[in-house]
């Protein structure tokens, strides 16, 4: 019985890991489901499951010698099921929401600008970076409006951008490039 339980738990964890690593939200949800089932099976096993065909809460067929099984593991499983069900439902809702927002169920296709600004701003910034003419125009108007004291700012930024190996060296692109392009997002993507 132990070997069978160990195999079932192992296979469930392995299948869950495989599904979690798929680039597809629904598979990730299913993987999480398999994970929680595997953990619950592990808890059943930790409560001392006796033999195939025997009621799970007694230790032997014979009423005289039979002892009640430890009730704590089923109790823990109940709580764990409720929690994983709630989190799973929330996760599924979020997957649908992300699908509605971005029209994809592939996490790798999600946009990478993880900053606070609203997506519209980011999209605008991206469009500006793509269009160099527009970028220059924006920069010119920006520097026209500013005081002389503030006019040095783009120059300073430009200088710093040269030192920053991650920054693209296109003129004026530094300030207006999508924020996610620097730092961690680029590194982990």
């Amino acid at each position: 019985m132990e070997l069978l339980m160990a195999l079932v738990i192992g296979v469930l964890f392995a299948a869950g890991t495989y599904l979690l690593l798929r680039p597809n939200f629904i598979r990730v949800v299913m993987g999480l489901g398999l994970y929680s089932n595997a953990a619950n099976m592990l808890l059943i096993a930790s409560g001392g499951y006796k033999a195939i065909g025997l009621s799970p809460f007694v230790t032997s067929e014979d009423a005289q010698t039979s002892v009640m099984m430890d009730p704590l593991p089923p109790d823990i499983i109940l709580t764990a099921i409720v929690i994983s069900f709630a989190v799973g439902a929330l996760f599924l809702t979020l997957c649908y929401r992300v699908y509605l927002d971005h029209g994809t169920d592939n996490p790798e296709e999600l946009p990478n600008d993880e900053m606070d600004e609203r997506d519209s701003d980011a999209a605008q910034a991206r469009a500006q970076t793509q269009d160099l003419e527009a970028t220059k125009a924006t920069e010119e108007t920006a520097s026209d409006e500013n005081e002389p004291a503030a006019r040095s700012l783009p120059d300073v930024v430009q200088e710093l951008a040269k030192d920053d190996p991650q920054a693209p060296h296109e003129p004026g692109g530094d300030e207006l490039r999508p924020r996610g392009a620097t730092g961690l997002n680029g590194a982990t993507a």
Partner: protein
């Protein structure tokens, strides 16, 4: 104090959250009630710390429903738990008052304040929990609250990041349940006091089995703590948390993981060979410090820099816990006291920096360093708060960060092993890098030419709660003795858990019978290999 009163820090936020959810739409009333509750909760926590610190044993325990240990669910408040309660309630109150200036009406209508109290509830519950499975449930309560608060308002980046955060934490929770099952299967109990008694008497294969199971738990806690190599979720998710609330997140949530590591791996697992997990932690701490600070150095947004610094700072606390692996009582006490002092310092300073970063962002109109400038000119007060908090974070005297680092480094040098020396060296290097990174924020955001002409004046109110935290870090640095002595007293209960065990009703008798039962269990295992649980 009556032992049952220790669950007040759990009950107050629970009822507050329910009441605030019912008051949805009464914007002003909701804010007033939330602030009063948070301040009241802080008062209760401070009173508990005073009462418990003044008592003979320094620990008060109770079991819910009157079922004696090891069957009832134990709640235990020792000095360490009370310190953590004061921090979660106090920093919670400060961050909550700060959000009055930042939270939008939409966010408030989406249950911002009830969720805030659910997160406080989860944290307080985790600190008081005297049972591993209960700890799991409290983690879930805290996480579910934090999922909600992270995506309150539901903008696209928030939903995206929250989904990753939920996915990772759901995996972590599953591993937590599995670890709990494994530990129950090997030891037959989940009550922390009972575990401390039982693991101390284990030997041979059984002890090795418990050590193996405990490493599964180590993985979970390392993930919640954001220790290397499981830190990648943190810098992505924290910047999307609404301003103000992110101060609370940054201060508290990862520290719940550090607290659990301290409680479980130092106090609960006492079997021979338990140093293994601590040695692993010591090695991880070096990587955590270094990778965190290197990550921070290449960021260009205030909240991201600060988020990466959380990771490197967590490394220091994990280092303190790891130093307990050195079998020398003096080093152990010093390391744990240093860790506790560091936790207090870190929660205060890191929350403060996030709040100052929020104000600076409001003054300059962005938190992107390359677009910022002139905050020193526009809002000198904010610059003053920032420089104190950032010096404290980097560990310059006379602020609290200096003492916290000093104690930990002293413990490391007193430890005297090669590994400890290497980790101390890494810690010192990390400190310098932290200072560099803070200088970068200072140079770009505060010192540079002004980035805009008109400055809105409505940041003034936000400075009050932030200033409270700055005052705390200065006081902790200048008038350090009461704090360091409290940390030392708290450390003794963690290292020598006799008082903790005896405080849980039924555990004193349980411990006296432990030897007998150990023998009985041994024979029952020998005769009936599958029947250990039934005997219980």
């Amino acid at each position: 104090m009556a032992p049952q009163l220790i669950i007040l820090p759990i009950l107050i936020p629970a009822f507050a959250a329910a009441l605030l959810a019912l008051l949805r739409g009464c914007l002003r009333l909701e804010k007033v009630l939330a602030a009063l509750t948070a301040l009241g909760l802080t008062g209760v926590s401070v009173w508990m710390l005073m009462a418990i610190d003044g008592s003979d044993t320094g620990v008060v325990g109770t079991v819910l429903g009157g079922w004696e240990a090891p069957y009832g669910i134990a709640m235990v408040a020792d000095r360490l738990a009370c310190i953590m309660l004061c921090l979660s309630s106090g920093v919670g109150a400060v961050a909550l008052i700060y959000t009055f200036w930042t939270v939008t009406e939409t966010q408030q209508r989406h249950f911002f304040y009830p969720l805030f109290f659910v997160v406080i509830l989860g944290c307080n519950w985790a600190f008081l929990s005297g049972d591993l499975f209960n700890l799991f449930v409290s983690y879930e309560v805290m996480l579910i609250g934090s999922y909600g608060m992270m995506m309150v308002g539901a903008s696209k980046p928030q939903v995206r990041q929250t989904m990753k955060y939920i996915g990772l934490n759901a995996v972590g929770s599953t591993i937590f349940v599995a670890a709990v099952g494994l530990i129950y299967a090997t030891t037959g109990t989940l009550n922390m006091a009972d575990l401390a008694v039982r693991t101390a008497t284990l030997e041979g294969d059984q002890a090795a089995m418990v050590t193996a199971c405990s490493t599964v738990l180590l993985t979970v806690f390392a993930m919640k703590t954001a220790a290397w190599p499981l830190y990648f979720w943190l810098p992505d998710s924290y910047p999307v948390v609404p301003a103000g609330a992110n101060g609370f997140y940054a201060g508290l949530l990862t520290k719940v993981g550090v607290y659990s590591l301290l409680r479980v791996f130092v106090m609960v697992f006492r079997q021979p060979g338990s140093e293994f997990a601590l040695e692993v932690l010591l090695v991880l701490s070096g990587f955590t410090m270094l990778f965190g600070v290197l990550g921070a150095m290449c960021q260009w947004e205030i909240r991201r820099i600060l988020s990466w610094h959380i990771i490197s700072q967590v490394g220091y606390m994990v280092m303190g816990i790891g130093l307990v692996s050195i079998a020398n009582d003096e080093v152990k006490t010093l390391a744990i006291a240093g860790t506790i002092f560091y936790i207090v310092h870190h929660i205060v300073v890191k929350s403060c920096l996030f709040l100052v970063g929020g104000i600076a962002g409001k003054v300059a109109g962005t938190q992107e360093l390359k677009k910022m400038g002139g905050v020193l000119d526009m809002a000198p007060g904010v610059a003053g708060l920032f420089i104190i908090a950032s010096f404290s974070l980097a560990g310059l005297p006379p602020f609290s960060g200096f003492l916290a680092k000093f104690v930990l480094l002293k413990a490391g040098l007193a430890g005297g092993t090669t590994l400890a020396y290497i980790i101390v060296a890494v810690a010192i290097v990390t400190s310098f890098f932290t200072l560099y990174s803070m200088t970068k924020i200072w140079g770009y955001a505060f010192w540079r030419n002004r980035c805009k002409e008109s400055v809105s004046r409505n940041y003034r109110g936000m400075m009050v709660p932030t200033a409270v935290l700055v005052v705390v870090t200065v006081v902790m640095g200048v008038w350090a003795q009461p704090f360091s002595q409290l940390a030392s007293r708290a450390a003794t209960t963690v290292i020598e858990p006799t008082a903790y065990i005896e405080s849980v009703p039924g555990m004193a008798r349980e411990r006296d019978e432990a030897d007998d039962r150990q023998a009985e269990r041994a024979t029952s295992i020998a005769s009936k290999p599958n029947n250990t649980e039934a005997v219980r």
